[in-house]
């Protein structure tokens, strides 16, 4: 089941129904048609459920039936494949990360400790993040299943929405979000009801913004470091230093260009493309990512993969995608295409925030005789072309 539902209760109901009937849930790296299509070719027996196809009319009947019934939770075997999360990688083919039931269950208990939830805490979560992405999946789907925490079905987006949904949520409340939304929230100046925590992940949160959020909302900001491969891995509180503190079930080994992670609840050891420096038992400093992997507003992308997609667009003779300011840009050689056509072609597979903007058409790329492209040459050409345009 490829579960694209954005309403968390619908998502949860569908997910649990799949688990109960031993059907695997697949969560694609993006909701673009191309990404979903790729999954179909790998899993030909899949079904897709999204907001248009979900039988919401039946849902109220279902809820009524459930509240009148005595439900016996079925015993789910530890090793039953429950979900597979996919991430875009540099090879072009998304990497699959299998999550058997026990990984989800034991991972959720580890997550609760990282989020500073005690066993009995019935924290009511409001989240801006989608349930398909690992961060949203762990917080708004798995925590309500395995702990006393709850999640609202709402999916607030703008600061005014976050305010309204939090006001409708009973205390104790917490906000689950990411730096892009938190920055917009702070700048909007809206008031929020009392919060126990603001949880943030998917990208680094600026230290000053974190402190400002704590002051304004009289709350604790907890930053989480994690990945689709490992789930939530480490946490950090604002008042302390920059060090990350890994969850107690993890064993870490820093390598030259990656971090090896193992834990009893993970099916096998995984490697994530982060450079870290261990500073003690289970504590580390984050030094950066593999240069190929970019993070735009919390979405991961591989420049190599995006480059490959660009060169596959019909009519594109040459091109390069690169980081520019906070986004991605592209220089493209395509005599018969315009920028809009190129972006449209990419948009079939690529998440909107990873689409290059601007796409600048040029006569040729500044390749060296070896065929290599030096970053400085690319940026210099980019600057020159834009200066001329004005």
């Amino acid at each position: 089941m490829i579960n694209l539902l954005s309403d968390r209760v619908w998502f949860l109901a569908t997910f649990l129904a799949c688990v109960a009937s031993n059907r695997l849930t697949l969560l694609p790296p993006s909701q673009q048609a191309g990404a979903v299509k790729q999954l179909f070719s790998r899993y030909p027996d899949s079904m897709v459920v999204d907001n248009k196809t979900w039988p919401s009319a039946k849902f109220s009947e279902l809820l009524a039936a459930i509240s009148n019934a005595t439900v016996q939770a079925p015993g789910i075997p530890d090793d039953q494949p429950a979900a597979v999360l996919f991430t875009s990688g540099s090879t072009g083919k998304p990497s699959a990360h299998a999550k058997p039931w026990r990984t989800l269950r034991d991972g959720a208990l580890q997550d609760a400790r990282l989020l500073q939830l005690t066993g009995e805490t019935r924290l009511n979560l409001v989240a801006t993040v989608p349930p398909q992405h690992m961060w949203g999946f762990e917080t708004t789907v798995l925590l309500p299943i395995f702990t006393a925490a709850t999640s609202t079905h709402h999916h607030p987006f703008f600061p005014a929405d976050i305010q309204r949904v939090l006001e409708q949520t009973p205390a104790p409340r917490a906000l689950v979000s990411s730096p892009v939304h938190l920055r917009a929230l702070y700048r909007s100046g809206v008031d929020l009801p009392p919060l126990e925590f603001i949880y943030t992940a998917t990208a680094a949160l600026d230290g000053d913004l974190a402190k400002a959020l704590e002051r304004r909302y009289q709350t604790s900001v907890v930053e989480i470091f994690g990945s689709s491969e490992t789930g939530m891995l480490a946490h950090r509180a604002v008042r302390e230093d920059e060090q990350w503190h890994a969850g107690d079930s993890f064993s870490l080994a820093a390598q030259t260009d990656c971090l090896m992670v193992s834990a009893p609840h993970l099916p096998e050891p995984v490697s994530i493309s982060d450079h870290v420096q261990m500073t003690g038992q289970g504590t580390f400093l984050w030094l950066g990512r593999d240069a190929d992997m970019v993070n735009i507003a919390g979405k991961r992308g591989s420049l190599a993969h995006l480059n490959a997609l660009l060169l596959q667009v019909e009519g594109v003779e040459d091109g390069v995608v690169f980081s520019s300011e906070k986004r991605l840009a592209a220089l493209v050689v395509a005599p018969h295409l315009d920028a809009a056509a190129i972006r449209s072609a990419l948009a079939v597979e690529v998440d909107p925030v990873l689409l290059p903007r601007p796409v600048v058409l040029v006569e040729s790329l500044p390749r060296q005789p070896s065929g290599k492209l030096a970053a400085n040459d690319v940026l210099a050409l980019f600057k020159r072309v834009r200066a001329v345009k004005r």
Binding site: H154, F157, R187, P352
Partner: protein, 93 residues
């Protein structure tokens, strides 16, 4: 981008177009180039969710209008420069 037949902008539309360009750092465009009937998000101008947040903030600061996604009219309001200008005009105090 449609360069052959473009609707002309009203003054308020031009002002909002300028705000869009400034708040979203669309350095390659000029305000006059945004077709009032062209889609803003996804296709057309190609804005995305990050832009939506940034733009909502700029609109609140300039026009004192709160943007809420759960407002029924919001999706339609954000579809083109023309519709967004009209939404702001009818919701300004």
């Amino acid at each position: 981008m449609h360069t052959n037949h473009m609707e002309s902008q009203t003054e308020q539309e031009r002002e909002l177009a300028q705000l869009i360009i400034e708040s979203l750092n669309l350095e390659d465009m000029r305000a006059e180039e945004i077709d009032p009937e062209e889609q803003l998000f996804g296709e057309g101008l190609g804005l995305d969710s990050i832009d939506a947040l940034e733009l909502a903030l700029a609109i609140t600061q300039r026009y004192n209008v709160q943007i809420k996604a759960e407002d029924e009219n919001m999706k339609e309001a954000f579809s083109t420069l023309r519709s967004l200008t009209a939404y702001i005009a009818s919701n300004s105090r």
